[in-house]
Structures are given as structure tokens and as C-alpha cells.
Symmetry: C2
DNA sequence: CGATATTGCTCAGTATGCTGACTATCAGTA
DNA sequence: TACTGATAGTCAGCATACTGAGCAATATCG
């Protein structure tokens, strides 16, 4: 039988597990309580003010049923707002709050530090190559998950 | 601001997301209802008969609080058995059942096919290199998650 | 215009994963 | 042997992720 470490699926799970742990550790040490998922959502809301939930989900490849709870928590923490859209009464327009902006700004060094730590065992060239290969594999498999990436 | 695709953490999450979807699709098409986590646990029980839950968790880098539920479901499906250990009354000895063995045997082609599909966008050499880099990054970060890999 | 299809969002249910706490048991030592 | 610490397992609680269903609103087409 194959060893676990010969299975890309197992390696994917393990790398993601470490990535989340490192993110939470760095961000927590900086005094913030934000998950990787919440961070990505908040940063994307800031970069695309007024976007709706489906568009947000597409931009970061989340399932639309997952995003509901994520935004609930961002709103509950006072970092984002959810408003009814005037153009489409089904949709919700998302905005970042001033506190959300402040949090993003202050949290950035910890987030960047976390990205470095995840790759700490690799040289710079190896880290770049890993990201390139991941991007390529992800692009080829984009449509295979229920939550594919969608351009704006 | 950095793009998502420059963040190893985001790429990790996305690759894992696709890997799970591909696994479930291939295994489901073969007529089985087994998650990647359940598969890894079952295969490891088969390879290490009578091992306890903490050892199993270490071998596949699961949290010990997660493994309880995973084994519950394997037992519930009739694929594994959980027995009290005679040497240590705190511990549970895990065994695969005949049906578990049958399931593993029949599911293997689907699992291997899933591993290939995850890397379908890469050449053979690139796939090998991706796995090498993931293994290296994971080895360096092994102790950073609550559920590090532990040798037998 | 009206029937139909599609879309945006939510919800119930299930399965990882984690934190932190707790019980029962075991191991080492004074 | 009694005390102390460590270990195996479970549990409650929270946060992703997914499936599948449903509701309300919009878009499309005959």
C-alpha cells in the first residue's frame, strides 16, 4: 500500500492544517481573533466595496452556504456591515466598517509573517516554485469543487 | 495589497478543497460513502492492527478529539471495531473488520484515480516536485499544529 | 404579459478540526 | 504506599465546508 506521504490529498490536508495553525498563532499573538477565512473575506470586502455575497464567495472560492456564517461573525464583531441592495432585493451589499479597516491594517504584519512561517522549511526559490505548482494544479481543478473561483 | 494567489495559506486551502471534492466524487462514483479522513484512518488501522487511538492519531496527524468521531463513524458503518485494551484500561484497541478490508480493497482504484485527478494540470515531473516541496514544508512545520505527525 | 427558469440567500443536517475541560487510569517517586 | 504528574479518551462549544432543500425576487422567453 502507498504511504500517506505519497498521496497529494494527504499532503494537501496536512499543509492546510499547518497553515491554519500558523495563521491563528501569529494573528492571536498580535492580539486579534480572526480566522484565515474571516481575514480573506474582510480583505476582499474592503477591496470591492458594496459587493454581494455570491460575488464575494466567487472571489475567494467559498461555498455560498459557508459565507453566510462567516459574514454573520464579521458583522457580529463590528468589522463589516450587511445591507439590503437597492437594485436587487434578493442581494445583500457588504461594506467594511472603520473598525474593520483598522483591524485589517494592524493585522497585516502578522498575516505576512504567517505566510513566511508556513514556508520556513523551503528556500525562497522553492517557496516560489511551490506556489507556482499549487496555482497551476488549482487552476486545472477549479471547476471540480462546489465553490470554484470566479472573476469579478 | 497582496493578491490571494500570493498567499501560500490561501493556496493551501484551495488545493485541499479541490482534493476533498475530487476524492468524494471518485469514491462516490465507485459506490462508496467514505471521506478522505475515514479512508486514511481505516487504511492505517489495517496496517497497524490493535493500535490505540492516540497512536492512530499520531500516524495520520489528526487531533485526538477528532479521531473519536471518525472512529465512531467507522464502527457505525461496520468497517472497524473498538475494543478495550487488556494492558491499559484507558486505551481502546482498534481492528479492521472483514467488511472494512473488503471496502478498502474495492475502493483503492477510486482513491488512486482521485490522486491523479488532483494533479491533472501538472506534468509527472511537476507533480513529483509539488509533492516533494509539500513534504519538505510540512516536515518543517510539523510541530506547529496541535496534531503533529508521530512515528509509530 | 405570464409561465418558467434562474439567481441570491438562508437553513437543517453532517463531517472535519480545533480549544479547553474533565474522568479514569497509569507511572514514577518520595 | 501515598502523592504527583502524565496519559487515553471523551465531551461541550465553536468555526469551517459541504449536500440538499426551500423562499423570495429577478430574468427570460414564448
Amino acid at each position: 500500500m502507498k504511504d500517506n506521504s505519497d498521496m497529494p490529498g494527504h499532503l494537501a490536508r496536512r499543509f492546510q492544517q499547518i497553515a491554519v495553525a500558523v495563521f491563528l498563532a501569529e494573528v492571536g499573538e498580535a492580539g486579534f481573533d480572526l480566522t484565515p477565512v474571516q481575514y480573506a473575506a474582510l480583505a476582499t470586502i474592503k477591496a470591492n466595496p458594496g459587493l454581494d455575497q455570491v460575488t464575494l464567495a466567487g472571489l475567494i472560492a467559498y461555498d455560498r452556504t459557508t459565507i453566510t456564517g462567516v459574514i454573520d461573525r464579521l458583522v457580529q464583531k463590528g468589522l463589516a456591515e450587511r445591507r439590503a441592495s437597492s437594485r436587487d432585493r434578493r442581494a445583500r451589499e457588504l461594506e467594511i466598517t472603520d473598525e474593520g479597516r483598522r483591524t485589517l491594517r494592524k493585522i497585516t504584519p502578522a498575516v505576512e509573517s504567517a505566510q513566511r512561517i508556513m514556508l520556513q522549511g523551503l528556500s525562497t526559490g522553492e517557496g516560489d516554485e511551490l506556489m507556482r505548482l499549487l496555482r497551476k494544479a488549482i487552476a486545472a481543478g477549479n471547476e471540480l469543487s462546489r465553490a470554484p473561483l470566479r472573476e469579478a
